[in-house]
Subunit: 233 residues, 4 copies
């Protein structure tokens, strides 16, 4: 009984938590940026930022535990909802939740929607940008005091993150500390996959666009690869 | 009434503006190249080039405003036609319009057309080359006077742009100024997507080519992935 | 008669050898790591590790020869089963067998299975990680004594392998010895293909996920690209 | 009359020239390697190698002109057969013909054929290797005498070519001469496309392989993405 009721109550919970998690992700990113980038602000602001980081951690933990209980999946939950589990353990990946929650909010309000490939590009691209920003913060925190570091300003760190996430990798500035390199490996692994999704979707979208243009000129009819027939097809 | 008539008048306007925009993009790229690469020419030539840059800006702005008015989309126009909006704000991306207008002209004249993948490759490849050239100009302008710069000649800048757009990224020459790096990030983001479209189409085209070759030898019939049946299939 | 019976006996043999080969791959990687990373351990441990490496070589050779005999393919066997042939010749690629055997064991036990794209991502990603680890060991062994080497610790080697396999390639640490570079080329060639499979599958999976979400909202029905109809479609 | 007969005579000519062009490509690559790598051999050998290079140029030119005449395409021929035109102008790309001719010979002899994706991978991979080797030769020839060059041995040049063609791009050794960089840009552009074809095909092949494995276990039937139904499907 409890288990059968679970999915419905779970859905209600997830819908109710969308906004808090969205705000939580944004607050976490903001507070973390304050902690890293403004080390000489008054102690009060720093304490506030630290409290914000801890608070968002609690919010995510509570949400995770409630959903674990409501889902009735028990020990299968962590693997089934692996993204939530990973985000709980690695708060740096939390910005991925911003995109998630934002798209959920947009969907409910029936706003103008992008095409299939457009949404994949927007989701993966925005995730890549937020992930790159969070990693730039974390790497800068590790590197700024290290001897022999080439990443000396936050600008260097952002420049490094941009070259890492696009797999260009100039190597003019690179992390030298062990933890900086661990964050870098996480960024490279996630970034490569996200960017692959962006380029793959862009490529498919372009092929679809040019194929559609064919359809307007020739009697063969348009190719529609996103599962919807165009009105005039 | 005015709105319903809009689409037709909009199409007429777009068709009439194809050539001016094509010329405008080419003039912009040429004048910008003169401004950057020939700093010691007589003042008259420099003024002419500057006038050319400003003139093309006006042409693009007028075209944008007229289409905004004719489309009847109002405040939805900037998002619906995001490429035009971006091109207006970032003139460095304007060369992307050259390709666009050129392909429109070709289409009208019923010239021999490439296959679907061929056109995607041609469009994305040409866009990448023009974008790389424009960014090489902009980065060179920022870097040439900077202390500690590794990009010292325009040749260095082109070499850097080629290694950035193919995501190879040697790092022997890299921008060091903040604006140079901002341009570089734009190039890397756009370049990765355009190059992904080139390689994705090349890959699909090669698979199609080899699949067709199968069809000529085996009784299974050719695979045709661009929506047209080959004559003898 | 012998040949017709072959396939069945071959299948039995392959099933019986799954666990030994899985253990063999793991033992090889462990013993090789001991040989490389603990050069100052007592001679007894080193001899044990060396014996482990040689033993696994014998196990793989015996398995290869038995399957060659049972298959009845004769001289066509090496090309038909090229991965086994390559793994026999290049023991560094042996970790690829761990993934293979592990997935075979999982399949037999009817454990919860991932989706099609999920399995491709898991297989290619895990292969890339194991291959990167094995190559990091091999390159470190070549480089640590070399004059002018930039890879001086095993951490450097892992960092280099991570940047090589994601094609980022910073170049802050790179192999300088001929054999180190040969291993690096093998890693780059295999890594690029494996990572391409990960990003390609991730991209397809994301497009499928977003397409399914469409299906739940619109009456068009979900797009299912992995060959299974969803229950409610 | 002459034009209608053209295609048949053209096909006969192309079939007759397959072996000479294959040999010509191999001879060109060999002679060029002798000229670059053995600068201190006796003058006689150098003259022989130079004669070989010139001879293959003549062979390719004659083949091109005969096909131009037989095709009856006139001035459309260069664009229709763009690969041949490019190969004529840029002899460094000539190794691409080796693969072409070799696969044609194989096809005629009804040897065991690879699957569709296998052939694309083999073609693109082999082309990438030969192109990388030819470019390594050309870049080494430009760089070895240059002041401040980092490519000092042919080994350096091969290492550089491998890191360029996989888009890793370490930057520890890079061309510094203008012509060396021009060759590098050609290699990067072609290499990225060829490697994209390899990884794309590998990815598709892996997805197909795992999809087929599904079909053997579940009643849904295998996914076959290369246009052929498997025998037991």
């Amino acid at each position: 009984m409890h288990v059968r009721n679970g999915p419905e109550r779970l859905l209600r919970w997830e819908r109710r938590m969308e906004l808090p998690l969205f705000v939580g992700s944004a607050v976490f990113l903001g507070c973390y940026a304050v902690l890293v980038l403004a080390p000489h602000t008054s102690q009060g602001w720093r304490d506030l930022a630290l409290a914000g980081v801890l608070l968002t951690w609690v919010v995510f933990l509570v949400d995770y535990l409630v959903r674990l209980a409501l889902s009735g999946l028990g020990r299968h939950f962590p693997r089934k909802h692996w993204l939530d589990t990973v985000v709980l353990a690695l708060p740096l990946l939390r910005p991925l939740r911003i995109v998630n929650a934002y798209s959920a909010v947009r969907r409910r309000h029936h706003g103008p929607r992008l095409s299939l490939y457009g949404r994949v590009m927007a989701y993966a691209g925005l995730s890549a940008v937020l992930l790159g920003f969070a990693t730039a913060l974390a790497v800068y925190q590790q590197e700024r005091g290290a001897p022999g570091a080439t990443i000396r300003t936050f600008g260097d760190s952002v420049w490094w993150a941009a070259s890492a996430i696009t797999t260009v990798g100039y190597g003019d500035v690179t992390p030298v500390t062990p933890w900086g390199r661990v964050f870098a490996v996480v960024l490279m692994a996630c970034g490569v996959a996200l960017l692959g999704a962006v380029t793959g979707s862009f490529s498919s979208w372009l092929i679809q666009l040019f194929g559609r243009e064919d359809g307007a000129v020739e009697p063969g009819g348009p190719i529609d690869r996103d599962g919807r027939r165009p009105p005039g097809g």
